[in-house]
């Protein structure tokens, strides 16, 4: 299976480039995504579908916000925190953004060390990524608690348009769920790396396929996607 996926591609000087290469790939009567393994292609296609899910949420939010006659609550004030007597706008969200970007950075390094077949560094960096992800979810739980205490509900809030609560819980809740599942998968893959599954090509518990370090990159794709979604949520929900 793996041999087939990674079989060297015969590249002749006549190989087309640009749009012609796309046409050639799709009309080749063989695997359309040449030298891309099925696992990676499937993860990308899953991420594309997930993009549509999050886009639908953000578009629903845009529609609610654009069509309401009631003023929208000012996110800058709603998410402000007073730390040591100084009120900082949006500070918790900013910290969450930096935590998630850092976790993306450590994940990218983990992928890099995975392809160098450095078992220990890969596992350590993945655990660090999971830790940062868990920190993010923890801060989100704090934020939810604070807002619920202040009276934000899916059907109303003290500051303005009722849809603020429903879109907030929907969008950040769905994103937080993605982060949570990401942390769980990170721990599972990190355990496999640590145990040396990908060096011994131990067969997977569920798929019975030989393990390979590419699993770390596929895991990384998911994790970076979660970070990517946050970039859009941060821009449209918190800053706009």
């Amino acid at each position: 299976m793996a041999e087939q996926a990674f079989s060297p591609i015969e590249t002749t000087p006549a190989d087309p480039s640009g749009l012609r290469s796309v046409a050639a790939d799709f009309s080749s009567d063989r695997t359309a995504f040449r030298n891309v393994s099925w696992g990676k292609a499937m993860m990308w296609i899953f991420l594309l579908s997930d993009t549509f899910v999050f886009s639908s949420f953000l578009i629903a939010y845009m529609t609610a916000r654009m069509s309401t006659t009631v003023p929208w609550p000012n996110a800058s004030e709603v998410f402000a925190l007073t730390i040591g007597g100084v009120t900082l706008p949006l500070i918790l969200i900013a910290i969450m953004t930096f935590v998630l970007i850092s976790s993306s950075g450590t994940m990218a390094m983990a992928v890099n060390f995975a392809y160098r077949r450095d078992r220990r560094k890969t596992a350590a960096l993945m655990l660090l990524t999971a830790l940062l992800g868990a920190t993010f979810v923890g801060m989100q739980a704090f934020e939810w608690t604070k807002l619920i205490h202040e009276g934000v509900r899916p059907w109303g809030n003290p500051w303005g348009a009722a849809q603020f609560g429903s879109t907030f819980f929907m969008i950040t809740g769905f994103h937080g769920t993605h982060v949570t599942f990401g942390v769980i998968f990170l721990l599972i893959v990190a355990r496999k790396v640590w145990r040396g599954d990908f060096d011994q090509e131990r067969r997977g518990f569920f798929t019975s396929r030989k393990g390979s370090y590419e699993a770390v990159e596929i895991m990384g794709l998911y994790w970076h996607f979660v970070d990517l979604v946050w970039v859009f949520i941060f821009a449209f929900f918190y800053l706009w």
Binding site: S67, L90, I101, Y213, F232
Partner: protein, 111 residues
């Protein structure tokens, strides 16, 4: 399968590249936070938010997700369908404009 190990497999890039991108993501995030901190208003605010957002998203997709080095057929298969989202945004923006207009016309509170 032993040949798979010797085979140049997957994405190999210097660590430095990731650190540089990481730093840029930090700088861009700080910039978008400062847009709110200094309460920049109007067109400039929206333009800056969108600019920093697009730059961050581009860096993450291109470098962290290795899209820049993927085969063009995969890149197109993933990125081209996303243009449907922009069409959806345009449709719903028009629709919500219309909804707002009807609400203001028919449900405006008596003054």
């Amino acid at each position: 399968m032993a040949q798979a190990a010797s085979h140049p497999q997957g994405q190999q890039h210097p660590i430095r590249l990731y650190l540089v991108v990481w730093t840029w993501l930090f700088i861009l995030s700080a910039c978008s936070y400062l847009v709110d901190y200094y309460q920049i208003e109007g067109i400039l605010r929206y333009a800056l938010i969108l600019l920093f957002m697009m730059l961050k998203a581009g860096l993450i997709i291109a470098v962290f997700m290795h899209m820049a080095w993927e085969r063009l057929s995969l890149v197109y298969a993933i990125l081209v369908p996303m243009s449907a989202i922009l069409v959806f945004v345009a449709i719903m923006a028009l629709e919500s404009d219309y909804t707002l207009l009807s609400r203001l016309t028919f449900f405006a509170p008596e003054l």
